[in-house]
Structure formats: C-alpha cells, structure tokens
C-alpha cells in the first residue's frame, strides 16, 4: 500500500480576507525519519488567528510562511516510526507539525501528551497554546483582583472563553463580548460569565457596556481590537490593565483602519495597555498547565470544541474561525487515533 501525505500549502498571499484559493492541497510521499527523527501521523490540527499574520509577507515576530510551503500550525499526532531515542511509536505528541497528515520531527518544541489525563485534542486548546495564552495574559498582564470587573472581547473563542472563566475563578465580575446570540448564551448559561452581549446586534456597545459594568472596567482582555476596544476604553477605571492579546478585527483588512485616538485615556486613568506573546512565558508553561488541569478536574473550567473533519477542509475551518463561526476551540480532525 502506497500512502501519500496530503498537505495544505500557501498558494497565494491573501489580500484582505483569505479565500480557499489562497491554499492548495498537495500530495507527496510520506517521508521516512532520518537519524534522531521521528514520523508523526496527525490526528488534530489547530487553526488559530495568528496564522493570518504568517500568511502575509510582513516582517513580524515570526517568519512568514512562503508561497508553496506547508502552512504552519499546531498538531496533536501519534508517533508511527522513530529513530529518536526519546520518542517511540505509539507516543502522542503535540508540536508545530503543520497542515498535513504526516510530518517529520527532531523533537524540538515538541511535548508529549498523556492521553489518560484529558482528551488529546485539549493539547491544542485549553491545555495548549490557547489555554496558556489566556492564563498568562490574564494572570500576568491583567492581574485581576477579587471584586474587579473584567471585560473580554472575542469571549467565545478558544482564548477568550478560558480567560473569562479564569477571571471568574479569581472572583471577578466578568462581561463577555461575542458575535452571536448562541455564543452569548453559552457564556452566560454554561461558562458562568456574569453578562455577555452580541456586538453584532447591539447598536451602541459603549452604552451596553455601561449598563453591564456599573463599576467600570478594571481589566480588558482584548482579542478583537477596533471599535469594540474603542468602546471598552471609554469605561476603564483608574489603574486599568488592557491585555492586548489579539486584534482579529484588523487582520483581514485590505487597508489599515483608522480610529479615534485614545492614548489620553491612559493618562487620565493612569492605565496600561500591554501586548504579549505566549512564548515569553515559555519557562513557566508546566506549572500553568498543572493549574489549568486542576481547574478542569474540579469542573471550574469548561471548554468546547468545534471540529471539522479532513485535512482538505482545513482552509474552510480556518476561514470560518476568522469569521467567528466557531464557538470555543476550532479544530480539524485529520485521523482517528
């Protein structure tokens, strides 16, 4: 039996919103591991907002994907063949194996996943990069204190939904901003957010926020940017912390957007806006994952996955995620364990 490796490459740099033709399905032979390498069979692929940045040619914190290259992306898979002393066939691993069915690895930036602890797909979500992003962004940049009000944009996404729940664990009033009534219901009825609203059907987000945050906002966990952030800034409290985690409203614009200038609000409120990348907390992942796992076990933290099947549907999953079609973590299931 000849097995081919289906992968999705970048066919063209998108202008504005990515479309399916910006991607290409390619078939190639499954590679064989060289010395100190192992072969991974992908089980789940994560699609995340940051990938939009890598599709553009702009200089950023990480190098761009070149046209013709396999799209980068986090994957949970199983080792099927190994010449690496630390990895054996059968091991479940998570790493940046890209949008493909099979990948070679030398073990760099790979972590082993214990399938007895939690469903392995969570290594891409609540127990992976999105969970760590929520944890460190909220705890280290936002520093929420009991009784404070925390506003989360993109609240029903993989990161926002965890950030909001951690803020609840920390004793805060948590208000979520999301893009559908179904998301709002999930946040308030299942995740325990104190309030949430659908910005797409809310004529004046600022006025809505005023009613939902009678004490103003002390922490703002921003995944979205743009007009939503403009509205939140108007109600920040003295010494507020704005955690700038993502700006998904801006990633797919053909022309950069302009908006009202509000740096003066940071002065008046003695407030801070701080951006971060989860990698800056790399040395502390282990402790954070233990804490998140404990909250999961105690039922204090819930998660939801939106799963689309088949590597060929990864572009659709990615584009849908950028449009906010998912609730919780958007995954692509590539194969059964």
């Amino acid at each position: 039996m000849i097995v081919t490796n289906k992968s999705i490459t970048l066919a063209a740099r998108p202008s504005g919103f990515p479309k399916k033709s910006d991607f290409k399905l390619v078939e190639s032979p499954v590679p064989a591991p060289g010395p100190n390498q192992f072969l991974v069979r992908s089980l789940y692929l994560s699609v995340d907002p940051y990938m939009r940045g890598r599709m553009s040619g702009n200089k950023s914190y990480a190098r761009s994907v070149e046209v013709g290259e396999v799209m980068i992306g986090g994957v949970v898979g199983q080792v099927v063949e190994s010449s690496h002393p630390a990895y054996a066939a059968g091991d479940i691993v998570a790493g940046d194996f890209g949008w493909q069915q099979f990948a070679l690895s030398d073990g760099a930036e790979v972590r082993k996943v214990d399938p007895t602890l939690a469903p392995i797909s969570t290594a891409l979500g609540v127990l992976g990069m999105p969970g760590l992003t929520a944890y460190f962004g909220l705890m280290e940049i936002g520093k929420p204190q009991r009784g404070e009000t925390v506003v989360v944009s993109g609240a029903a996404g993989a990161v926002g939904s965890i950030a909001g729940q951690i803020a609840k664990i920390k004793g805060c009033r948590v208000v979520g901003i999301a893009g559908s009534d179904e998301k709002v219901r999930w946040l308030t009825e299942e995740l325990g957010f104190d309030a949430a609203f659908n910005y797409k059907t809310t004529p004046n987000c600022y006025r809505k926020l005023l009613t939902l945050c009678p004490q103003g906002a002390d922490v703002y966990f921003d995944n979205v940017g743009g007009e939503i952030t403009d509205a939140v800034v108007r109600l920040i409290n003295v010494r507020a912390r704005l955690v700038i985690c993502g700006q998904i409203s801006q990633y797919n614009l053909e022309k950069p957007e302009t908006g009202p200038r509000w740096l003066w609000a940071l002065i008046v409120k003695q407030a801070r806006a701080e951006g971060f990348l989860v990698f800056q907390f790399r040395d502390r992942y282990e402790g954070a994952l233990r804490r998140i796992a404990q909250w999961l076990k105690e039922g204090k933290l819930k998660y939801r996955e939106n799963i689309i099947e088949g590597i060929e549907n990864a572009p659709r999953a990615f584009i849908g995620m950028l449009k906010g079609e998912n609730i919780g973590k958007q995954l692509v299931k590539i194969a059964d364990l």
Copy 2:
C-alpha cells in the same frame, strides 16, 4: 494704600485652541487670612499643558475650572500674613494658588521652598511638578536600561527636556523630537541629547527616526501624541515601554482626531503603553527632588526658563506654551521677591 488682587478667571470654555477672550482679568480686594490661614503674594506662576483639560467641562481625573472661577495653577510665592502656626511671613511656598496676585491657603498641598538651595522659580520646573513628572515617568514607567534608545517627544518642553537628560544620566542613547531648529540646537548642543530633529520641517518623521535610532526605540517618552507617536511606534523594539505623559497635539482639536490603529504593534513587540499622573508617586516626591537637586548641583541636569512678566499676560504665556513657543519651562513672573 488699597491693594487689589488681580486674577485671571475662565471667561468661556474654549472650543479648539484657547484664545485671549476665554480669559478675563478681574480685580478684587486682597483677602485677609482667617484662623489657620495665611496670605501668599505670588511671585511666579506656572503655565502647563494640563490646564487645557481643566478648561473643558469634560469629566477627568480632576474637576474642571468653572466659568467665572480663577484659573488653577502652580505658584511660588511669599507668605505676607499668617494665622497658621506652621507658616510665617517671609516664608517662600509653592502651591496651587491659581492665576492671581494674592491667595489664601490653609497649607494643604503646600510645600516650603528653601531659597538658598536653588532659584525659587525652579520649584515650578525642574524641582517641581514638571521635574517630578519627568523623573517618575521615565524611571518608573520607562525603566530605561544602560545602552537602550530613548525617544522623547515634546523634548524641549519643561518635562521632555528633563526626561531626556535623565535618560542620558542613565546611559541611554537619547533622541529628541521638537518643533523648531532652535529647540533642536538646545537639545543637542547644550543638553547632550545624542540627536534631535524638528518635526515641522521633517517630511517623514518615521524615516528620520530610523536613521537616528539604528537600534530601534526601547523607551518612548510621549508628551505629544498624534502622528509623531504613530511614527515612533513603528520602530519600537521587543519589550518597549511607551510612557504616555502628555498628548498636547490632541488637547486643542475642535474635533477628536482619528489615526491608524496600532495596538497590534504592542502584541508583535510584547510592548506596553502606560499613562500616568505624577500624583500617583506623591509619597516619593521628597527622594526624587533630592536626586534631581543633586544632578543639578553636579551639572548633569540643565534647565531653561522662558519668562513672561505680569499676571495680565498669563493667558498669552499659556497660549504660547500650547503653541510650543517656549523653550524649557514657561513661567509668568508676577512680582519681585
């Protein structure tokens, strides 16, 4: 001899740039101190950008000046009559005595000035609020490290000129942005800035900054905001600190300005923008003033004053300062000691 107290009141809330008719010269009898009060004769009045905010009716960190009220403002003066146990006639004091020749005080928020240590006018500048603002903004928010590049906007103003010099003391490369060639010469030839440029005659501030900051910018001390800040943000380094001290370009706009959104840059650079008010460091003024005084004595810190004479000219001094006509600290001399 009947002595009258000339004061300047707010005649009208300005729309856009303040004009002379927004102020009114008023004469009234000199008041007599009641129990635990003293009467101050003003010697120097400080005019500062923050006053523009108090002239508007908008809610802010401090209450607005009402139409008909004496304009608020820092003054150095001499006690001429006292029923207060801690203040005696002849004492030199600094406090918020307003735009007037005489003021009553109960001693709240007043500090005594030692006229043997430095010229008393410095209690409104390098050894007063502007010096403290520069010191705490740079040291506590900017946290400059030896070898880093610090960019200062409004660099020839009362705060910017001190912030830049403290950054030099801390071993940084310091680049100033100012609004005239004369200011630029002062910064580079007298204050020891490594480079400076006149933004009014520079067609592309970003390109200019690129050549003057070959290592990017680690700290940005912002007094100005607007397009100048947009340009600086494009060259910030990883973990940069943006000290949001003032936004003078925005204070006199009739309509709020819009600008490009750049919060994404904070993410990519894991950077921070933080606003502050000097009052938040109130408990530590004394130590900071000792340090600044020591630098002055050692010749490491220089200052310049721009003095206009006469209380009736305070509006002109204030408007000129908002237009950037001053180099260094803008003062109004009200009387001789």
